[in-house]
């Protein structure tokens, strides 16, 4: 019989090993799944994990990794701060949308003026928009003790309605022949989040994501606020004893997550996507939750996990077009990653022992 035995302290080795094991298990289970769908399992896995990086068309896919990975990392970093403290912001998708609307709105308000300050203003507006959207669950929680999971999640759907309204109404391109969607910011140089080096995929969002990783690392490991975040997550009573103000922490964590998600939305709408449209959001805000946990809520881990997730996105698309795998299968594949991670996670705090049943 197998039993779980609590370790005296969390295993350091397993903390780092679990993501790797989870990825391997996902590959194996994914291969079985693809085999049942009648595809060659080895080739499917190879297509997802190998082609984007090393195939002959990798020059095209590699920049895409940055483009896909950056918003995931940016959002996940913000979420991880709250998750560390036991504050569950599930609504990053909504904060992402609102950030994009606000940022794009500021940019479009200046159209067609060309000035150096327009893009910085848009960045600010994007961050503020996401922050404000996250403040709704934060203030409700602090003031009335509402559950931030529900409130933030439901605000995603409100944000989606708002997005639809914006792309059909207020922000609709007046020269768009009646099609929904705003002007394309890629054609408005002052508002365009262009690649910093042509063809590299490197835009301001990627830079911000890297900066966010570094700042989060410093915050969590060196700063009192980060210490209080970790303390609150691990022992809430000890945190209050240490003098942590829970309300302030909730406002900070949700606010930061919202601002970073808003930034991600702004960089996306002004860069790779280009315009506010009804289906502009593609679920980065939800996928970032997986990224945050896959990265062990650790900034460096999140960076790696964001890259991995972007890989499965792009690899998944290649597999869809080349091998005809259904999109749903790719989504199952990504979901399995979180599932296995949480399952293998047990080994960090417990060791599995084989015991012969003791006679009472």
């Amino acid at each position: 019989m197998l039993t779980l035995e609590k370790r005296p302290q969390p295993s350091r080795l397993w903390t780092y090993l679990t993501p790797v094991v989870a990825v391997i298990l996902t590959m194996l289970a994914g291969a079985v799944l693809f085999a049942f769908l009648g595809k060659d399992p080895v080739q499917s896995i190879r297509t997802i994990f190998w082609e984007p990086l090393f195939s002959e068309f990798a020059f095209y896919y590699r920049p895409q990794l940055l483009v896909k990975g950056a918003p995931l990392v940016l959002i996940a970093i913000g979420l991880s701060l709250g998750f560390r403290a036991g504050i569950w912001n599930i609504g990053a998708e909504g904060q992402y949308i609102i950030g994009a609307i606000c940022g794009a709105g500021v940019g479009l308000a200046f159209y067609p003026m060309e000035a150096w300050f327009i893009f910085p203003l848009m960045v600010l507006a994007g961050a503020l928009g996401g922050w404000a959207w996250a403040m709704i669950p934060a203030l409700l929680k602090v003031r009335f003790g509402t559950n931030e999971i529900l409130v933030s999640l439901m605000l995603v759907y409100v944000a989606e309605q708002l997005l639809a309204s914006m792309s059909l109404g207020l922000l609709k391109n007046p020269e768009g022949f009646g099609f929904p969607g705003s002007r394309n910011l890629q054609q408005y140089p002052s508002a365009h989040n262009a690649e910093l080096i042509a063809g590299s995929g490197m835009h301001w969002g990627v830079v911000s994501a890297l900066v966010a990783v570094i700042l989060a690392y410093i915050l969590l490991n060196r700063h009192m606020l980060g210490f209080h975040i970790r303390l609150t997550g691990e022992a809430p009573r000890a945190a209050r004893f240490a003098g942590v103000n829970p309300a302030r922490l909730i406002l900070f964590c949700l606010g930061t997550a919202g601002a970073l998600a808003g930034l991600a939305g702004l960089f996306e709408v002004s860069g790779p996507s280009g315009q506010v449209s009804i289906d502009f959001n593609v679920g980065y805000g939800f996928t970032a939750i997986i990224v945050a946990f896959l990265g062990r809520l650790h900034p460096i881990g999140i960076l790696l996990a964001g890259g991995l997730m972007a890989l499965t996105y792009i690899g998944g698309e290649i597999a869809q077009s080349k091998l005809g795998l259904p999109a749903a299968a790719i989504q199952v594949f990504q979901g399995m990653l979180l599932f296995f991670l949480l399952a293998v996670d047990v080994t960090t705090n417990y060791r599995i022992r084989r015991v012969t049943r003791e006679v009472a």
Partner: protein
């Protein structure tokens, strides 16, 4: 009365990595109160679990009244006449006394008969209790009566009691002892586990002392001093705390009309407390747990805010300040719950040192933690308070209770507080660690700190405090000099015997 009831021969039980009992032998005679003494982790619990059939020994034999005895489960032990009262009660609050007792029986009789038997047994042994009262309304002492009556209904030959007095006031202890003496007069043997040495001297006929799983000696408690028994338990010369004469200074902590609503539904609200502690003085607050101790600590640590003027530190109103600001001003606290309240279980000792030491030890600069200095501080606490651990990188939860408690108390003491408040400083801590902690509190008072000790351990409070008061249902008794108090007076200050009295039979 001199027939041997239970003989234990060479009992051994090993768990992975530790031998809990190593070749333990002793004998209990009929009608005898036999004490089992030892520090935490000495193997007392494992031994009685083997006698009660909860754990199977690896080797060794037991003989009960001349017949081989090897209970496979508690039911077999009970059938053989062995009963046990556990330290933690297993009663359902929502049910009444009779229903609770019926639940533990194999074939419960009809409720009316059972209630009559409970009345009969309880009155015979001086443990009056109404079988129809709801357990949730009973005091700790009364709950213990229910557990004892449950055992007595089985007509046991051997009654095992695990730390029975830790939840009782002195009056309740006296009632319990009378009951136990009545039982032994009828030939029932009692195996009595405790580390309260004076109690054992008053009650027990024989004592077996365990250390690190081995039987290290037996003695007749009445003819042995508490100090000698303590030395046998610890295995070395025992350092009893010494109190140097101290000079009292100004009033450092002044509590005036402190009333606090408990944040918890099952907590006890504080009602109009008044007390002062002077620099260099130790004020001991006794009382059975759950009478407002946690709330008082929270009100002093700053976790609960009060009226600004209700708490004054050296004349300065601090009732509205948070924990960090109070620490800055010199009011330090150590809560009862070590893991999860005083320390974060999964964090290292270095991180836990920063938890309360950040402000006074200068571990923060511009909001950034100086981990190097925090580590030095943790190392200093570990070294000065003899905390047994591989190093400051160890997680708090990996430490034993006594070692973590030494760390938690040491962390506050090393910060040179103006006022230190500790709640249950030696709860669940072995004798040598407890002595070290008491000595540290005495030394701290000697340097001019005002110390407020909240504890259930009356011996501890009498040993170290200058003045004594008791908390009872959120109210504070008069505070009186500790030296002139008798045990009876202390009991009355703690709220008497919670309305319980000895049956007049």
């Amino acid at each position: 009365m001199t027939d041997t009831l239970l003989t234990i021969e060479g009992l051994t039980k090993a768990y992975p990595g530790v031998v809990a009992n190593d070749n333990v032998s002793f004998a209990i005679r009929e009608g005898e109160v036999h004490a089992l003494l030892g520090e935490n982790g000495a193997g007392k619990s494992t031994l009685v679990k083997m006698i009660y059939g909860l754990v199977k020994p690896d080797s060794g034999t037991m003989t009960l009244r001349g017949a081989p005895y090897a209970p496979a489960e508690p039911r077999a032990a009970r059938a053989a006449g062995v009963a046990m009262v556990f330290q933690h009660f297993s009663l359902f609050d929502a049910l009444n006394v009779a229903e609770n007792i019926a639940l533990g029986m194999e074939n419960p009789p009809p409720m009316r008969d059972l209630a009559a038997r409970i009345r009969e047994v309880s009155e015979t042994y001086g443990l009056p209790i109404d079988p129809y009262r709801t357990v949730g309304d009973l005091s700790a002492g009364e709950r213990q009566r229910v557990e004892i009556i449950r055992c007595l209904l089985q007509d046991p030959r051997l009654l095992i009691m695990d730390e029975p007095t830790s939840v009782l006031t002195p009056q309740e202890v006296e009632i319990l002892f009378q009951t136990l003496r009545k039982l032994t007069a009828e030939g029932v043997a009692i195996l009595y586990i405790s580390h309260k040495l004076e109690e054992i001297r008053a009650l027990c006929d024989q004592a077996t002392i365990l250390r690190l799983g081995r039987n290290v000696g037996t003695c007749v408690p009445a003819g042995t001093t508490a100090r000698e028994m303590a030395e046998m338990m610890v295995g070395s010369a025992f350092q009893a705390p010494e109190r140097a004469p101290r000079e009292l200074g100004e009033v450092a902590l002044d509590i005036t009309g402190l009333s606090v609503r408990s944040p918890s539904e099952f907590g006890t609200s504080l009602k109009n407390l008044h007390l002062t502690v002077r620099a260099g003085e130790i004020l001991g607050l006794g009382g059975v747990a759950g009478n407002g101790q946690d709330e008082l600590l929270a009100a002093l640590s700053g976790e609960l805010r009060t009226d600004a003027d209700a708490i004054r530190l050296k004349g300065r109103p601090i009732g509205r300040l948070g924990p960090a600001a109070r620490r800055q001003l010199g009011l330090l606290t150590a809560p009862e719950e070590r893991l999860g309240h005083a320390a974060a279980p999964d964090m290292s000792l270095t991180e836990n040192a920063a938890l309360t030491g950040a402000q006074r030890e200068g571990l923060v600069a511009n909001g950034f933690l100086k981990w190097g200095k925090a580590r030095e501080f943790a190392e200093a606490v570990i070294a000065r308070f003899d905390v047994r651990t591989p190093g400051p990188g160890t997680a708090a939860r990996a430490l034993s209770g006594g070692n973590l408690q030494k760390f938690v108390i040491g962390r506050e003491v090393m910060q040179r507080p103006e006022v230190l408040v500790v709640n249950q400083p030696t709860w669940g801590v072995d004798a040598s660690a407890a002595a070290a902690i008491r000595q540290a509190l005495l030394d701290l008072a000697g340097t001019g700190t005002a110390v407020l000790v909240i504890s259930q351990d009356l011996d501890e409070l009498m040993e170290i405090s200058d003045r004594f008061g008791a908390l009872n249902e959120g109210r504070l008794s008069d505070i009186r000099p500790a030296q002139e108090l008798s045990v009876d007076e202390i009991g009355l200050m703690m709220g008497g015997a919670h309305g319980m009295e000895v049956a007049h039979v």
